[in-house]
């Protein structure tokens, strides 16, 4: 079983991930002089959640050919579910000191908690919602779309419309999710102070574990028999259908799993950065996720994670060094990857290695 899940690249990636996950908290918490500053811990944690989001997208795009331009919506919904729990945890420590209502509701003169906020004071209920809400949206959306055989570019465009509509909706104050400002000013999670280094390191470890678990789940699905059908759908949808497979059911399954994974990523992201706002729903964000996957290497899972981390890292560095250049760089990435790196960085590196080792099989596959 384990041998099926962990091939060479997965093994290598997980080992590096393990080392980083152990070393970073030690460097931050227990070594005098803090060789790893606290902001780096939060930053790396954020990268991990992006990587998990990229893996989720790779699962549907790389293996099933569904190019979702709305995966940011599932990520943001997970983030909002977590944010709602964190808002409820603030209790009387808010600016207005209302024990039940979050500050923005007091500000808007709301009388009582809307029904959809009920239950979010419980951690486990919220954690369930982190997966259920994105999953349910994906189920309803996918059920309609896949059953009526909306495919290809049309599907991409309506997923984009979905996240755009959600963004507009969450910007409205009347929705009850804090409007423009979103949810912020969180205090603690399960009693741990979110400002403390230890909590941040804990969240970082949680993000790393979630990423590893996400990779394992995705790998489990793609190496199973079901995974073979998914690839068949990707490469020849009509033929698969004529062979007797219920294509829409396979697509729906993997779409929902992927949305839940994105929701989990969002849920860890929110306490790490301390805010979730409607900007996360913007179509531009969702398209950027696609470039993470494409840059790393579509259909490789590990590559998607690497791509997310590479892009996020270069964004951090470039926006602080040459803020003007960042969009040029990102735009160039989109163009170069699609034109000259069809298999992404991982594909190029592996091909290079194969040529170096004169491995005839790989060279033949990638002329």
């Amino acid at each position: 079983m384990l041998r099926r899940l962990i091939d060479a690249r997965m093994g290598l990636f997980l080992s590096v991930l393990f080392v980083v996950t152990v070393a970073v908290p030690i460097g931050n918490l227990w070594i005098a002089g803090q060789p790893v500053p606290s902001y780096v811990v939060a930053l790396l944690g954020k990268y991990m959640t992006y990587a998990l989001l990229a893996v989720a997208l790779d699962l549907v795009w790389g293996y099933c050919g569904i190019l979702s331009l709305g995966h940011g919506a599932f990520f943001a919904l997970g983030g909002y579910a977590m944010g709602m729990h964190l808002m409820r945890q603030i209790g009387t420590r808010g600016v207005y000191g209302d024990p039940v209502l979050p500050d923005f509701m007091v500000f808007l003169n709301w009388e009582k908690l809307p029904w959809f906020w009920l239950g979010f004071d419980s951690f486990w209920f919220s954690m369930a919602m982190v997966m259920i809400v994105p999953g349910a949206l994906a189920f309803v959306f996918g059920w309609f779309a896949f059953r009526s055989r909306v495919t290809g570019v049309y599907l991409s465009i309506i997923t984009q419309a979905m996240t755009y509509a959600l963004m507009l909706a969450f910007f409205r104050n009347e929705m009850g999710f804090g409007g423009n400002n979103g949810l912020t000013d969180f205090k603690d999670l399960l009693g741990f102070d979110l400002q403390s280094d230890a909590t941040r390191a804990g969240l970082f470890v949680a993000a790393a574990l979630a990423l590893a678990a996400g990779l394992m789940v995705a790998r489990f699905i793609t190496t199973s028999k079901l995974g073979k059908v998914l690839v068949a759908v990707r490469d020849a949808e009509s033929r698969t259908r004529f062979l007797g497979y219920r294509v829409e059911a396979f697509k729906l399954f993997v779409f929902v799993v992927s949305a839940m994974m994105a929701g989990v990523a969002g849920a860890i992201y929110t306490p790490l950065v301390g805010i979730i706002n409607p900007g996360e729903f913007s179509p531009a964000n969702s398209i950027e996720i696609v470039i993470w996957v494409a840059l790393g290497g579509r259909g490789t899972l590990v590559g998607a994670a690497i791509g997310a981390i590479l892009v996020a890292l270069s964004r951090t560095l470039l926006t602080s060094w040459f803020p003007e250049l960042w969009l040029f760089a990102l735009g160039a990435m989109f163009i170069i990857v699609t034109l000259v790196l069809p298999h992404g960085v991982l594909g190029a590196v592996e091909l290079g290695l194969a040529k170096f080792r004169r491995d005839p099989k790989l060279v033949e596959e990638n002329p």
Binding site: V153, Y154, L168, I291, A332
Partner: protein, 558 residues
Amino acid sequence: MQANQNATGRRKGRSATVSRALPRAWLATALLFAAAMLLVVAPAWSQSRAFEALVNTLPEGSYSDRAAVVAAIAATGDPRALGVLESLTEGQLFKQKTGGRIVALSGVGDPSRMIDAITGEDIGPYNKGAVKKIKINNGLRRDIRSATGVLSLSSADPQARLKAAQAAFASGDPAQLEALDTAMSAESDGEVAAALAEARAVAILNSQRPTADKLAAIAVLGARGDRDAQGVLAPLRDDPELSSPVRDALETIEQRQRLWGMAQNVWYGLSLGSVLLLAAIGLAITFGVMGVINMAHGELVMLGAYTTFAVQEVIRTSAPALFDWSLLIAAPLAFVVAGGVGIAIERGVVRHLYGRPLETLLATWGISLMLQQAVRSIFGPNNREVGNPDWMSGAFEIGAMTVTWNRLWILVFALIVFAGLLTLLKRTAMGLRMRAVTQNRPMAAEMGINTGRVDALTFGLGAGIGGLAGVALSQIDNVSPNLGQSYIVDSFMVVVFGGAGNLWGALAGAFTLGVANKFLEPFAGAVLAKILVLVFIILFIQKRPRGLFALRGRAVEA
């Protein structure tokens, strides 16, 4: 004369409440004297003398005394009264320290010269030390406004009379009734007479006139039928005597308002639809005809808008006289700029990605990011000011709805572009080649068509039309580097809804979505209306995955 007596009576009442000190007593005497003059001596001569006396008392006393004097000045109906009172409102009326003459700044011609307020004689340059300003406050300004309103009812300029009648309508002061009656009997201009009748109706409703007069007034207002009339009538709804006719009139007005409101919504919808059509029609070429997803289309629109900005800048600095032509100059330039960039995109990137729509989508998105940043680096991140030429600004009214010229011209422009494009595709050799390449590329190549060149030109055509859209949008939207982003989702919705590959689909899609959006807005609010439309399209795509006007045949599956 009756009007003068009325004004005098009011003046007495006011001065009585403030008779506190000696100067005020003196003033009251002066006023009484003036009033006596008015009543006793022969009208023309006495009017002019009374006017002069009143103007000379202006600097005396407190603000409320001055208000009484102002009313009296207006009541003289002297032709010079308007000028004096306007100078007073502007704070440009002074008393000379020596001689005590009342002087004013000489208006528009040379504001630094002084004239005698009464005789109009030129006194010499304005010398701040030699004069004392006659002070004014906001309460007094209000009094002057209503007083001058009545005065301008007898102005020679029909526009001024119309404005005065409208002001009288808004104030609804029953004290103006006599003035309105006088003005109506002398009025020759039909439009002004109607406005006067309406103003008179409002004044009657506010007065103590008998019910029969008020019923006639209600009929007049009911016929006017706009929101202002509604505002006047609504408080009278529960008046015991007038209740039923007022309710009837209100009902008629509401009915009329509903109809016009619907017409206005249709107009707004068509206007939004024309904007959507302009933004989407170029996309309909690249996406619809070529099957290429051009995510940078919004940025081509933005380039068109910035071209307009650049053209206007050049015109402002070197040839201001051409400003009214700026849009006509900018349109072909925008077409060339955006079209050129489009051809460069096609030859540089898109050409290598035919048959891989998802990759095209990503690559063009990358191009859109770079174009955005390039414009941001060159023109700065802030909104740029693009002016409206004269023929694009302003509005006119049809019944109870307002139509702005810029929206109307944009609708016309969108339809012209649409018709031009349709002709190009259906009636020219170029269009024939484009359609041939779309429908069967290898066969078209066999027939000797240079497919690569046709691809580039088709893409450039779509891009150039995006640039034209930018010229139009620069007139109604902020010209900023984010301009394109705000249209890209909407224009894709139009193309997908209308059905890719069909220009008529884009037309129907744009106007349907525009009108639907504007009809939802009153019930749901602007944002929710947009969300509802998006949800509707998402559901619609499930039902008809290829849009309203679907292409049929082999090309569909390719």
